[in-house]
Amino acid sequence: MGLFDKIKSAFTGADKKAETEIGETSTAKDTTIEPADTQKETEQYEKGLQKSRRSFTRRLNELLANFRYEDEEFFEELEDLLIESDVGFEATMVIADKLRYESKVENVRSMADAERVIVQTMVDLYGETNPDHHVFNENPDGLTVVLFVGVNGVGKTTTIAKLAHQYIDKGKKVVLAAGDTFRAGAIEQLHIWGDRVGAQVISTKQGGDPAAVVYDSIQTAQEQHADILLIDTAGRLQNKKNLMNELEKMKRIISREIPDAPHETLLVLDATTGQNALSQAKIFKETTDVTGIVLTKMDGTAKGGIVLAIGKELGIPVKFVGLGETMDDLHPFDTEKFAYGLFKELIQQTV
C-alpha cells in the first residue's frame, strides 16, 4: 500500500493504524543517488514546510469550524487559504470546485464531511503527480548526457555543480560543458565550480557558439571515457522563440552524436516562481522534451506547489530538489516525503 492510500484511508477512517506505519514507510525509495542522511533530509523538508503547515492547518480548522455549504464567501476564503499555502491556482480550483460539487450533489453538510472531501482531493492530486518512475535515467554502458535548461536565474549552473559533486563522490568521471556563452561571467562560474569539485570543463569564449561547445564536450567526454556529461545552457525566457530555437539546435546535435542522448533533459525551476512555471514547463517541454524537473531554492518560504499542476497537466516528474546552499543540498525528489511534510500535522490531528 502506497503512502497516499495510507493517508487516504487514515482520513476516511478505513485504517486507524495508518499513522504509525507512515513513519516507517517514509524512508527514501531506491533512487540512483542515495541521500547521505535520510533523517536529516526529512527534517529539511519539514523545516522548510513548517511555517506554512502550521498556519495552514490552524486556519483550515478555523475555516471549517464555520463551514457554511451554500455560502460562496466560504469557498472564496478556502481558495484564498489554499493559494496562500502555495498549492497553486489550478490545484486550488480543483479542490474548491470538488467541494462545491460535493456540497450540492453529495449533500455534504457537516464540518467533518467537508474536511474529508478537501483532504481527499488534495491527496488525490498529489497522488496524480506521483510519477510511475522517477528514477534518474542513466546510460548503463557508456556516457550519460544530461542537458540543463530553464529561464534566467533559476540556478542551473549551481545545480550542475551539486550534481557533479555527487557523482565525483561516487567515483565517477564527470565532464561539464559551459553552454552558457551569453551571460557575463557564466563560463568563469562553471570553471570555478569545475575546479572545486574536480571536473573538467569544456568552454569557449563569451559570445561563442554554444552548439560548438556541446559538440566539443561530447567528443572530449567520449575520448576520455567519462561517465557523465552535464551540459549548462544560457537562461532564456520561454517566449523568446529565437533563443528556444537555439536550444533545439543544441539538443539536435547531442542526439546526432549519441542517438540515445540526452538521457535526461532537466528543466530547472525556481520554487519561488508562480503560475509562470506552468508556461515554462509547457514550452520547454515542446522544444526540448523535458524529462524531469529540478526544483531549486526550496529552503526559502516558497513551497513550489506549482509542480502539482505541472505533474497533472504535463506529466513531468520532479527529479531533484535543491534544499540549501552547500554542495550536498541536492536531493532526489521524493513525492511521498514532500506530501508527508505537508500533511503530517493534519494526519496527526485528524486521526
Binding site: 472564496e76 481558495e79 484564498d80 493559494i83 496562500e84 502555495d86 491556482f89 486550488t92 529561464v151 534566467n152 536565474g153 533559476v154 540556478g155 551569453f182 551571460r183 557575463a184 561571467g185 557564466a186 568563469e188 562560474q189 570553471h191 570555478i192 565550480w193 572545486r196 563569451q206 525566457l237 520561454q238 517566449n239 523568446k240 522563440k241 529565437n242 525556481d270 520554487a271 519561488t272 516562481t273 508562480g274 503560475q275 509562470n276 512555471a277 508556461s279 531554492k297 529552503d299 526559502g300 518560504t301 516558497a302 506549482i306
Partner: protein
C-alpha cells in the same frame, strides 16, 4: 510580453459588460468574480485581490454606474483607476544625493537569481545615458563564484568602471572603500551589487544591515523577478522589515508572466516600483509608470511609451524630411533601411505593435513574432542594390533582380516580394500623407473606434492570417 495572459482574461470578463446598456448589481458581481480569478491566476497576492475586488465592487455599486447608459465602460474605468492606484498612482523618480553631498549611493538587494548584477549594469548605463551621471559599480557579492567577473565583464561592455577587492574581504569594507574610490575618481553615483540571499537567512540579512549602516545609501533597491508567485510578498516584506528598502525594480518583464508581483508588492510594502527590466540587452531598463501599466494590463495599449521610444530614436527634422518625401512619392530604399534600423532600435516589433491601442485583440497577434533574421535578410537585399537602384526602384529589371538575389544570397521570389511590398507601401504612404492624415490621427487618438483604425486592423489581421497560412503551406512542402 508580460501581462498578456491577465489582459486576455480581464477583457473576457469585461466583454459581456461592455455590450450591456444598463448594468445591474448581479452583473457587477459576476464580473468581479471573473476579475478575482484572473488576478489570482496572475499570482497577485490573495489579500491584495480581496481588497481590490471589494473596493471596485463597492465603487461600482456606489457610483451612478447602475442603470446609467454606459455603465460597463464606467466599471472598466474604475478598474483602471484602481489598478493604477494599486501600483502606486504616480510615477516616482529615482533619488539622488543633494549637490555637494558627495556621490549618490545605491544598494542592490534581493534573492538569488532575481537579476541584481545585470540590473546594476543596466542601471549604471541608464543613469549615464539619461541623467548624465558618472557611475561606479562596486562588486560586493563575495559568495557566488564568478559574480565579480560578471560585474567586471558588464563594466567592460559598458565602459563603466568596476571596483573590486576580490572575494576575501567583507562586503562592508568593499562598499566603504568603493565609495572612497568613487570620491577620489570623481564618480557621482556608486552602485553596490550585493550577493543574492534568502530573506530568512539571518546571518546574511545581518550583513546587509551592516552594509547599509556603513554606507548610508540614498536608495536600497529590492530586485524582484516578475515571475515570482505568492512568495513575492513574503520576500518583499522581509527585506523591507530588515532594511527599510526605498524602491523596487521588477526584472524579466519581457517574459510571458502575468505579473502579479507588480500588483502585490507596492500595496504590501508601500514602496514604489521605479524600474522594470525588459530584455537581455543592457539598455533594456525602463522607468515604471503605474497608469501606463494599468492601461496595458487592460488591453488599452501604451501609446505614451511608444511615442517616447520613437522620440528617443527618431530625429525630428529627419522625420519631417521623410514625411515630405512620402508626400512627393520620393520615398526610397535608403529611407526604408533607415526606418527599419530605427524600428529595430525601439525594441522587438511584436512588443511595439502591442503598444498600439486595440492591437492586442487582433486575432493571431500573440503568435506574431518577427524573426530578427527576416529583418537582416531584407536589409541584405537592399544593400545588394546599387545606389541608383535604391533611389529609383523603377530601375529594378528582372536581370537586376537576379543579380540582387545572388548578391544577397536570397531567393529571387523574396527579392520580388520585397520590391512589391515596398512599392505598395510607398503608394499607400503617399495617399495617406496627402489626404488622409486626419484619419491617421483618429486612429491613434480614438483607439479602435477610428475608421482608419478599423480598416488598418482588418487588413493587418488578414495579412497575419495569410502569412500564417503561407507558413503552414511552406511547411507542408
Amino acid at each position: 510580453m508580460a501581462f498578456e495572459g491577465l489582459t486576455g482574461r480581464l477583457q473576457d470578463a469585461f466583454s459581456g459588460l461592455r455590450k450591456k446598456g444598463k448594468v445591474t448589481e448581479a452583473d457587477v458581481k459576476d464580473v468581479m468574480r471573473e476579475v478575482r480569478m484572473a488576478l489570482l491566476e496572475a499570482d497577485v497576492n490573495y489579500k491584495v485581490v480581496r481588497e481590490f475586488v471589494k473596493t471596485v465592487r463597492d465603487k461600482s455599486l456606489g457610483e451612478e454606474v447602475l442603470g446609467s447608459l454606459n455603465g460597463g465602460q464606467q466599471v472598466v474605468k474604475i478598474v483602471n483607476d484602481e489598478l493604477t492606484q494599486l501600483m502606486g498612482g504616480e510615477q516616482e523618480k529615482i533619488v539622488f544625493a543633494e549637490p555637494g553631498q558627495g556621490p549618490t549611493i545605491y544598494m542592490m538587494t534581493g534573492l538569488q537569481g532575481a537579476g541584481k548584477t545585470t540590473t546594476a549594469g543596466k542601471l549604471a548605463n541608464y543613469l549615464r545615458k539619461h541623467e548624465k551621471k558618472k557611475p561606479l559599480m562596486v562588486a560586493a557579492d563575495i559568495y557566488r563564484p564568478a559574480a565579480i567577473d560578471q560585474l567586471q565583464n558588464l563594466g567592460e561592455q559598458l565602459d563603466i568602471p568596476v571596483f573590486s577587492m576580490g572575494d576575501q574581504v567583507s562586503p562592508v569594507e568593499i562598499a566603504e572603500k568603493g565609495i572612497q574610490q568613487a570620491i577620489e575618481d570623481g564618480r557621482d553615483v556608486v552602485i553596490i551589487d550585493t550577493a543574492g540571499r534568502l530573506h530568512i537567512d539571518e546571518t546574511l540579512m545581518d550583513e546587509l544591515e551592516d552594509v547599509k549602516a556603513a554606507v548610508n545609501p540614498h536608495e536600497i533597491f529590492l530586485v524582484v523577478d516578475a515571475m515570482t508567485g505568492q512568495d513575492a510578498v513574503n520576500v518583499a516584506d522581509s527585506f523591507n522589515d530588515r532594511l527599510d528598502i526605498t524602491s523596487v525594480i521588477l526584472t524579466k518583464l519581457d517574459g510571458d508572466t502575468r505579473g502579479g508581483a507588480a500588483l502585490s508588492i507596492r500595496s504590501v510594502t508601500q514602496k514604489p516600483i521605479k524600474f522594470t527590466g525588459t530584455g537581455e540587452k543592457l539598455d533594456a531598463l525602463e522607468p515604471f509608470y503605474p497608469d501606463r501599466m494599468a492601461n496595458r494590463i487592460l488591453g488599452m495599449g501604451d501609446i505614451l511609451t511608444l511615442i517616447e521610444r520613437a522620440q528617443q530614436e527618431v530625429d525630428e527634422d529627419r522625420a519631417a524630411e521623410m514625411a515630405e518625401k512620402m508626400r512627393e512619392n520620393r520615398y526610397d530604399f535608403n529611407d526604408f533601411i533607415e526606418q527599419m534600423d530605427q524600428m529595430q532600435n525601439m525594441g522587438p516589433l511584436e512588443d511595439i505593435i502591442k503598444m498600439i491601442p486595440g492591437m492586442n485583440k487582433v486575432p493571431g497577434i500573440n503568435d506574431f513574432e518577427m524573426d530578427p533574421k527576416d529583418m537582416a535578410h531584407m536589409k541584405a537585399i537592399v544593400l545588394s542594390m546599387t545606389p541608383e537602384e535604391r533611389e529609383d526602384p523603377e530601375l529594378l529589371s528582372q536581370k537586376r533582380r537576379r543579380r540582387i538575389a545572388k548578391g544577397s544570397a536570397r531567393d529571387i521570389a523574396e527579392v520580388n516580394r520585397l520590391i512589391k511590398q515596398f512599392k505598395q507601401s510607398r503608394d499607400m504612404m503617399s495617399k495617406m500623407s496627402k489626404g488622409n492624415m486626419g484619419g491617421l490621427e483618429n486612429m491613434l487618438g480614438g483607439g479602435v473606434k477610428g475608421k482608419l483604425g478599423k480598416m488598418a486592423m482588418n487588413s493587418m489581421s488578414k495579412k497575419i492570417n495569410k502569412k500564417k497560412k503561407k507558413k503552414i503551406v511552406r511547411k507542408k512542402k
